[in-house]
Amino acid sequence: MKLRPLQAALAALLLSTATSVAAKPLVVCTEASPEGFDIVQYTTAVTADAAAETVFNRLVDFKPGTTDIEPALAERWEISPDGLTYTFHLRQGVKFHTTEYFTPSREMNADDVLWSFQRQLDPSHPWHDKASVGFPYFESMGFKDLLKRVEKVDEHTVSFTLTRPEAPFLRDLAMAFTSIYSAEYANQLLAANKTGSLNSQPIGTGPFIFQRYKKDAQIRFKANPEYFRGKPPSDTLVLTIATDNNVRLQKLKANECQIALYPKPDDIPSIRKDPNLKVDELEALTTGYIALNTEHKYLDDVRVRKAINLAFDKQAHVDQLFGKGNALLGINPYPPTLIGFNTANHNPPRDLDKARALLKEAGVPEGTVLTLYTRNGGGPTNPNPRLSAEMLQADLARIGLKVDIRVMEWAEMLKRAKKGEPDMVSTGWAGDNGDPDNFLSPLLSCDAVKSGENYARWCNPVFQALITKARETIDTGERAALYEKALAVYDEDQPWISIAHPKMFTAMRKNVEGFHISPLTTNNFATTLVK
């Protein structure tokens, strides 16, 4: 049959329409817009999902759904006996993405790894100053002081020399800020004076190829057919931005997205009842806690801190805040899934008489006022800060302590807490890499008293010596034993009320398969499929 040109054009149009509409993408409802795609410039989980988990890979990755390390762009590695040199052997045959804006002429090699680290480490690197706010995660993880040098041994081998042994180093290398970029692409951008494009048109080796970002609406990716772990089962991935969690749930119910991230704990029972939906849950690496300022009058006495912990009805608090079964009671500063969790530590039964006696012994007058700073909006580690503060207030009133609750904006609260202003501060922490050091050093070390993040301002030399030694010990068993000891010291001194380790939830349609909720609050869709 012969077609006239017009008919042929129409047929082609219909055909193209049919195919474009027929291919169903995997749509994920996420909570906020990414700041950009040059991931090393940013710290938020939503940006990590949109760039690090889709476009990029690192030398090593976290195994899906765990905090265990698995080889990624590095096939294998060796650690020198002194723990100071790490040699990585790169996987061969890994290709960077081919897009409308970049065609790689070579495969990933040591130059790309070097570029990705030197850019952040070396102030004379041509790309160092292109990041206006610097490299926040690299700085905050102390990489500037930790990395002595990064060298190319040969085309496919790279070595890292550290200034001190650092046991969490491998886990650090699985974090978003160590993503491996294409040096070739960066050089092209620099030569064309288009350095801004690194942030808007990313190139990596990851499971998905960036297609388009419609600002504040959606990010579209297509599957990388040459991905070294095999092409992802979903041809198209769309991250659609719906700020409100009620709206995300309604969109999921209407099948406008197949996965809804961060549902409200309150909604979990109704989602479970819906025949079309299911919920995936996991103990996340988060802790909600109240830091007790150990430098302030009365709270500098461990008996007072113990009295507060004894008067606090933790179970009622956690049930009310998170819903029954949605959070583990806090005992230690980090959840039990991490090594060195001290199981001998426990929550003492509530004992108001003993608490009163301790206060009396410490000479705390009846009606003593303690300030409690808390934030105005809820977050994953505390969905309702005001209610939480009021419950503590009621508990402490029963042992004769008055709590002056100051609800303030988050940034202001942190600023004041870092200066050591409040007696007590209600806050939380989300772990970055599944290592205990990632909780203990930033939150309870003596260094963190100086920088301010140790809101309890608790500097115990024994505890400090134990966590420093543990950080430098490579053997996992030995490390675990050191952390157990450190946590015993923590328990003896009680600088915090460790409240809860909330569970993390992801709601999805029943026909979604292959999604692994991650304890690290990032989301990867490389193995996810809508059946």
Partner: protein, 336 residues
């Protein structure tokens, strides 16, 4: 007329400076600087903090920062977002069509139904219908936008499945942004059904955003119509034997519309303000959502210039209304 326009233009200069000063000061009054907010609970290296603040020019004294800001503004430079590192002007141009499209749809909805409700209520004054219409409009006026949006979503989108929950278009369609107006862009696109899909996405947000203006327009139309219907020329028109429809719509509504049109102008501000909430509920990628996120991130250039651009728009609309009024009513033109 020339001196009238010159006088009005002269008033714009202090207004403009007032806005720049106010937004500059207000965003800096909110605690936390952009670097601290970005780092959150994480350790902020003091050296890194100082370097970043210097690079962003935020370590200078406030008057110097303000002067820098005004100098750049005078050169037409709106700066770049601290959060996304994109040009503020480019971001505004990308997002504004979405807000404008929604605002126009809301205005259309509010105009058509508001006028209709106002006319009906005026004609049936004192009746159950009048009380009903005015009662509903009062409820509409007092409706919390967030609640109203969610109720409509749960009923029409989830229970009945008639309309989509949120966004501008279904994720099945990948529409190339040409004009930024989704209804127009879908017409250019080759994807079948995209226009209808975009239109369906517009209905609920337009209703939610248009509810308050609708209530205002309905009440204004009613009182204006009641006044006009008492006029002698209406009686004359009736006496001449004109049909009731002609009396109401040609002689009555046309004259009653003058104050209503002013309300239309004033509603531009309401629509842009209301867009902040409506855009959040419906995941509508417009300037409202953009500004909210910018305030959260202490993105000074976006907040300052985004608000300035919106304020300029409102000023412009009011300026045009002033001029039109001056043209229509010479008494205003001569007021000092």
């Amino acid at each position: 007329m020339f001196s009238f326009i010159a006088r009005r233009l002269g008033l714009l200069i202090p207004t403009f400076f007032g806005i720049t000063l106010l937004t500059f000061a207000l965003i800096r009054l909110i605690p936390g600087d952009p670097v601290e907010v970005m780092m959150g609970e994480r350790r902020v290296d003091p050296e890194m903090h100082a370097q970043a603040m210097e690079r962003l020019g935020l370590n200078k004294p406030l008057p110097v920062q303000y002067l820098d800001y005004i100098t750049k503004l005078a050169q037409g430079d709106l700066g770049e977002s601290l959060r996304t590192r994109e040009s503020v002007w480019k971001e505004f141009l990308t997002l504004f069509p979405a807000t404008l499209e929604l605002a126009l749809a809301a205005l259309l909805f509010a105009g058509v139904f508001g006028l209709l409700a106002g006319v009906i209520a005026a004609l049936k004054r004192g009746s159950l219908l009048d009380h009903g219409v005015m009662g509903i409009s009062l409820t509409g006026y007092s409706m919390p936008i967030f609640w109203w949006g969610l109720i409509l979503i749960m009923f029409f989108s989830v229970s009945l499945g008639w309309t989509p929950v949120s966004e501008r278009i279904s994720s099945l369609y990948d529409i190339e942004p040409i004009t930024g107006f989704m209804l127009i862009d879908t017409l250019f696109s080759e994807e079948e059904g995209a226009f209808k899909d975009a239109l369906m996405h517009l209905i609920l947000p337009a209703i939610v955003l248009g509810t308050i203006p609708l209530a205002v327009i309905a009440r204004m139309t009613r009182s204006s119509m009641l006044e006009v219907l008492r006029e002698d020329y209406i009686r004359t028109a009736r006496a001449k034997g004109l049909s009731p429809g002609r009396v109401v719509f040609v002689h009555g509504l046309r004259n009653a519309l003058i104050p209503v049109l002013t309300v239309f102008g004033l509603q531009v501000g309401t629509l842009l303000g209301g867009a902040v909430l409506t855009e959040t509920i419906f995941s509508w990628p417009g300037i409202g959502k953009w500004l909210i996120e910018a305030i959260g991130a202490r993105d000074y250039p976006v907040v300052q210039n985004g608000i300035l651009l919106i304020a300029c728009l409102v000023i412009l609309v009011n300026f045009v209304v002033d001029i039109l009024y001056g043209l229509v009513n010479p008494r205003i033109r001569h007021q000092r």
